[in-house]
Symmetry: C2
Subunit: 145 residues, 2 copies
Amino acid sequence: MTSSSELENAALQAAKFERVREAHKTEVAEDYVELIDDLINVNGEARVVELAERMGVSHATVNKIVGRLQREGLVVSRPYRSIFLTDEGREMAVEARRRHEIVVKFLKAAGVSPETAEIDAEGIEHHVSDETLDCLSALTGKIEI
Amino acid sequence: MTSSSELENAALQAAKFERVREAHKTEVAEDYVELIDDLINVNGEARVVELAERMGVSHATVNKIVGRLQREGLVVSRPYRSIFLTDEGREMAVEARRRHEIVVKFLKAAGVSPETAEIDAEGIEHHVSDETLDCLSALTGKIEI
DNA sequence: CTGAATTTGTAGCCATGGCTACATTTATTG
DNA sequence: CAATAAATGTAGCCATGGCTACAAATTCAG
């Protein structure tokens, strides 16, 4: 149905790509928000330097992105102070971590090495619908038995 | 290991995000090259209008991206003519389709509806390592039995 | 074969997320 | 407490991938 011999409906196909582009917009936000939450939980605060180090990016880039997150109401930050999550940001972090963990668990259960599972999950988690997430959970249970 | 109570090594974590960013760069190329290959196989040629329609994007955007693909040696195009793949482009298309199909098959086998499977696969396929791909194939076989 | 429709190209705008370089503020230490 | 170190902020650059608007070429009708 996908490709090869027959071409699917153009509008449907366009909708899929549209969806992927949409997901990309929230990916960065999810990753940052989740990391900020982790840092707050473990270190007691989230600072620009550590975000930069853990994201593998310059502090200038972090600043820019934190600015956007603040505009979008996910984060609160005052100059030269550490970064906090809004309620909305915290919700997003929780949800992101939930997805992440489901995907990682599934991959490991499927026989993927822990290292690869972590790496692939980082890319996959943002593109998994609730429906698929449920199926992965269920499958993880079955495999483990 | 991922998050919650303990923070993993910063360099490792950075490497993962680095990897995801890297994948993003090739995503667009893979999607276009695969679609171009499909169009050539089915319609005999790939034209800008149809790429635009199927990607859900303006023709100006397609033009810009095709320009990049040509700079990168994946595609050949002359003004006002249809678009062709280079050998490298064709290889990328074949590989992309292979991944796509493995992911879709797996998702369907896992109980995801065909529509959702197609949608999610579009986002997932670019972030799945060879190791994971092998595990998904194997798992698909087991589930089907 | 000419005129209209379609397709393609191009220019110029925008936001994002990279970067370096430099400025400023905060923290540390002698 | 002053001087240095570290962290943060800001400016300005780049490429990407969106867009609209307009220009040019090609195709299709009549």
